[in-house]
């Protein structure tokens, strides 16, 4: 068991070393924060972050926010978490598991596709979501890009 542990440790150390040597430069997508066209609330990065972490329950117009998210597999989710929330998707997921199982918050509702997010937001004045900026249509209002 101890030698198993030592070899696991070796593999982990080796793996971490290799990962840390590789610096990946990719062209990342631009993240758009979208709301219903009628929503004239003010949005800055801090406000958006608080809304998406459930720390602010309402928009500046006083209405309760309905949060939507893309699937964890959609690369835009990782982009959104990194650029807007400032954490990795794993850290965001850990945060929500803590909130769910202590009864202190409800995570954004996961939508299957960008078109579903657009449809849901264009039909609901209080919904907010994020998507690849190139996918946003005139049915929704882009309030910020990152």
């Amino acid at each position: 068991m101890l030698c198993l542990f030592k070899s696991v440790k070796r593999i982990v150390v080796l793996g971490l070393s290799i990962i840390s040597l590789i610096v990946i430069n990719q062209a990342f997508a631009e993240v758009a924060i979208v709301v219903h066209p009628s929503n004239s609330s003010s949005f800055d990065k801090a406000t958006i972050k608080k809304i998406f972490l459930g720390k602010s329950k309402s928009f500046s117009n006083g209405r309760a926010a309905i949060l939507l998210s893309a699937t964890p597999k959609d690369p835009i989710t990782e982009e959104f978490n990194k650029k807007v929330i400032g954490k990795s998707s794993n850290q965001v997921n850990a945060y929500w598991s803590k909130m769910i199982f202590t009864g202190k918050g409800t995570p954004p509702q996961e939508m299957a596709s960008t078109s579903e997010i657009i449809a849901a937001i264009s039909a609901n004045p209080d919904a907010i979501g994020y998507m690849d900026a190139s996918a946003a249509t005139s049915a929704v209002k882009v309030v910020a890009t990152f």
């Binding site: 964890p72 400032g86 990795s88 794993n90 850290q91 803590k98 199982f101 202590t102 009864g103």
Partner: protein, 379 residues
């Protein structure tokens, strides 16, 4: 009383939920963890003899590792149902199956939540006492980097209570605050951890220990900003411990305790610092104090989180100038690998050093080195 409350709440949920097809959300979490200790140690209760090293990974449920690999010490499966009962009211129940109980499911949490306003939430029912920084989600392995919150801090025989919480949220500048007032009671009959000590210290295995914590009253202040999340707690409670012996006699300890705590997490990308400092005083004429703390460093690199943690617990009697009763530290090293969006693999090595007072029997843990590995998931 507790049984009735539970039955009442569950019946209430069923009655309300089923005919109307109320909105009911299921979610859950679990951990499948195996582990073992790596050597033997002098048996503190049988001088001259050796026994397996033992690591208590879960004090409250007495989940322990010895030289035989086991899945039972820490594995857990929990299912949560949240029933939306209307605009502002919901009922939550958690059905939990633990290896230490041979996976027999029990309703561990059940409470009503009333969202009075955006900033005020009231809860009534059974929940965990917010004792330490990780107390309220100490069993949700997916929510923190380690295999478990350092077990030698989470050593209390009471972790839950039936009561009420009032949570008020507000902003101060760029910071989000939540202040929670809580009040409740816990009547733990035949307490698992206290019963274990009875047997360990040569008592009758039939001795039943009832541990009652009453008028648990306190306040919890959580403040978070862009890179930090901090929490202050103070609470007090009365304590009544009754030992029922086989010959139908009993003895009783009546005292009270005060808990102080300050802990949190700080993100210094790519590092996360986690810490908790706690201080407990017991009003027992001996000046009993329990200072405990932990400090941990996590390195976040893609899907990997290697970490180290140091946790130290102490039990002193200041009026008798005795400061080395029960005392121990754990040095933990491990790594978490997030291999799926909702699951992580962890492996951890724990070096437990017992610094307790041997002549008086307080060094009852003994040193241990433990390896554990497993998977935490949420769904």
């Amino acid at each position: 009383m507790m049984k009735y409350l539970r039955l009442l709440l569950i019946s209430f949920v069923i009655v309300v939920a089923l005919p109307t097809k109320a909105d009911i959300k299921f979610s859950g979490f679990g951990s499948i963890i195996a582990g073992k200790t790596l050597g033997t140690v002098d048996d503190p209760f049988n001088p001259g003899q050796k026994r397996d090293e033992i690591l208590t990974a879960d004090f409250y449920d007495v989940g322990q590792y010895d030289n035989d690999i086991t899945f039972k010490a820490e594995s857990i499966f929990a299912l949560q149902a949240v029933v939306d009962l209307g605009d502002k009211l919901s009922a939550t129940a958690q059905l939990v199956a633990k290896g230490v109980d041979d996976f027999e499911p029990e309703f561990d949490w059940y409470y009503l939540t009333y969202r009075a306003t955006d900033s005020l939430t009231l809860m009534a029912g059974r929940r965990n006492i917010p004792m330490y920084y990780f107390s309220e989600y100490s069993e949700v392995g997916y929510a923190y980097p380690w295999m478990r919150p350092p077990s030698n801090l989470y050593w209390w025989q009471i972790t839950q209570f039936n009561g009420v919480n009032a949570m008020y949220s507000f902003d101060s500048g760029d910071y989000s605050n939540t202040v929670t007032l809580f009040y409740g009671n816990e009547y733990s009959r035949d307490n698992t951890e206290m019963g274990y000590y009875e047997v360990l210290f040569g008592g009758e295995s039939s001795t039943v220990v009832d541990e009652f914590w009453t008028d648990i009253t306190g306040v919890n202040w959580n403040i978070s900003g862009d890179i930090f999340d901090l929490r202050f707690v103070y609470f007090q409670h009365d304590m009544e411990r009754t030992r029922h012996f086989i010959d139908t006699t009993s003895d009783q300890l009546n005292t009270s305790q005060k808990f102080y705590g300050f802990g949190g997490s700080i993100d210094l990308n790519p590092f996360t610092v986690l810490f908790d400092w706690n201080f407990v005083t017991r009003d027992d004429g001996l000046g009993t104090e329990y200072p405990t703390y932990l400090i941990s460093l996590v390195y976040n690199i893609d899907d990997y989180q290697p970490y180290i943690a140091y946790s130290k617990a102490d039990h002193e009697r200041t009026k008798l100038k005795i400061d080395d009763l029960e005392e121990h530290y754990i040095m933990s090293y491990g790594v978490r690998y997030n291999f799926l969006p909702n699951a992580s693999f962890k492996v951890q090595y724990d070096h437990f050093v017992d610094q307790g007072h041997e002549p008086s029997g307080w060094a009852y843990h003994g040193d241990s080195d433990t390896i554990s590995l497993g998977v935490d998931f949420v769904f």
